[in-house]
Symmetry: C2
Subunit: 200 residues, 2 copies
């Protein structure tokens, strides 16, 4: 129980910090702002985090790790259902994108504030991002119909870019549904990288 409460409280501090960092910018934001918004004392925050940078690292590394877990799970599930590799890739892209969109503010913070991490934590983040990159690359490389003259790293960057950028421009209040956008994006990517045959 105590452990759960502690984890819950720590998570709550992070959630509040996301909004504070997002709205004020990391450098301007203070532990005092976070404490006030989380309705907790500054000492209460020190109970969980030693520095402001530790909170940032917890947020950025947390999302990257969570994203990796979710996408890996989706891929495993799709494979256990013996889905076609194109469907596996489509499921991967959807899971990845949904996680970015569900955490739009954090994914923007990863872009905007990554340089504020300590060198150690920046290295950690990069390591985690590389793991995600490799997972995506492996699934793309497993497409049997992939254009043979294409460089797999460029394809992977292109897929990841398209997803992350969606977190940047996609307006949940807008006219387009997430699923429509994703279906079109997946069709564009698959037709673009596969040999010229019907992909349906």
């Amino acid at each position: 129980m105590f452990r759960n409460d502690r984890t819950g409280r720590k998570k709550q501090v992070c959630q509040v910090a996301v909004d504070v960092f997002f709205e004020k910018g990391y450098t301007e934001a203070s532990l005092h702002d976070i404490a006030a918004r989380a309705n907790i004392s500054k000492a209460g925050i020190y109970h969980y985090f030693k520095t402001k940078s530790e909170i940032l690292s917890c947020i950025l590394l947390g999302l990257t790790e969570e994203g990796f877990g979710l996408v890996a799970e989706t891929v495993t599930k799709a494979k256990s259902e013996k889905q076609d590799q194109q469907d596996v890739v489509a499921a991967l892209i959807k899971a990845y994108a949904f996680n970015i969109l569900k955490n739009q503010r954090i994914s923007l913070l990863i872009l905007r504030e990554r340089d504020q991490l300590t060198p150690h934590h920046r290295k950690e983040l990069l390591k985690k991002e590389r793991t995600v990159f490799e997972m995506v690359r492996n699934e793309l490389a497993a497409l049997p119909e992939l254009k043979t003259h294409f460089n797999i790293n460029v394809i992977t960057f292109q897929v990841i870019s398209t997803i992350h950028w969606m977190g940047y421009w996609y307006d949940p209040e807008g006219l387009l549904s997430v699923n429509d956008v994703l279906d079109q994006m997946i069709e564009t990517i698959l037709t673009g990288i596969l040999q010229n045959e019907k992909t349906e």
Copy 2:
């Protein structure tokens, strides 16, 4: 002559400021840092800019405007040579990407520091970005073989995302040449968004 000197000096301050903002972050960077690096007095900077935010706005708006001009020029040239619309789009993507890559630091600052602009300048930037978006969209929409069930705004965002993200991950010191990456990206995009026929 005097006017040119003035413009040159102003531009030099901006160039130096790009590096200072990039390395220290906008909030941490001071006019003093910029003056020291530009080998100019602080009063000298005030001669050109009233505030730090004005320098930022000059940098971010400057690149967006320059990008628009370059891309528009490329499109006009390609059309005057009566090039096929696919070639016009390819030329557009290349010109856009080369400009981003030539100004990698500024394009990252546009992402990272745009919220530091004054509301007025942020609105100006958005307006300029919308003009770029519309130009790209118009050229994409003019492709006669475009998939009819696709939403043109999503296609446009996808193209722009791919280009901007390249400024984020592309390593000029790496193994891949810019041209190889761009050729592959253009092929992926065109095959992806055009009806299923040979695009060559």
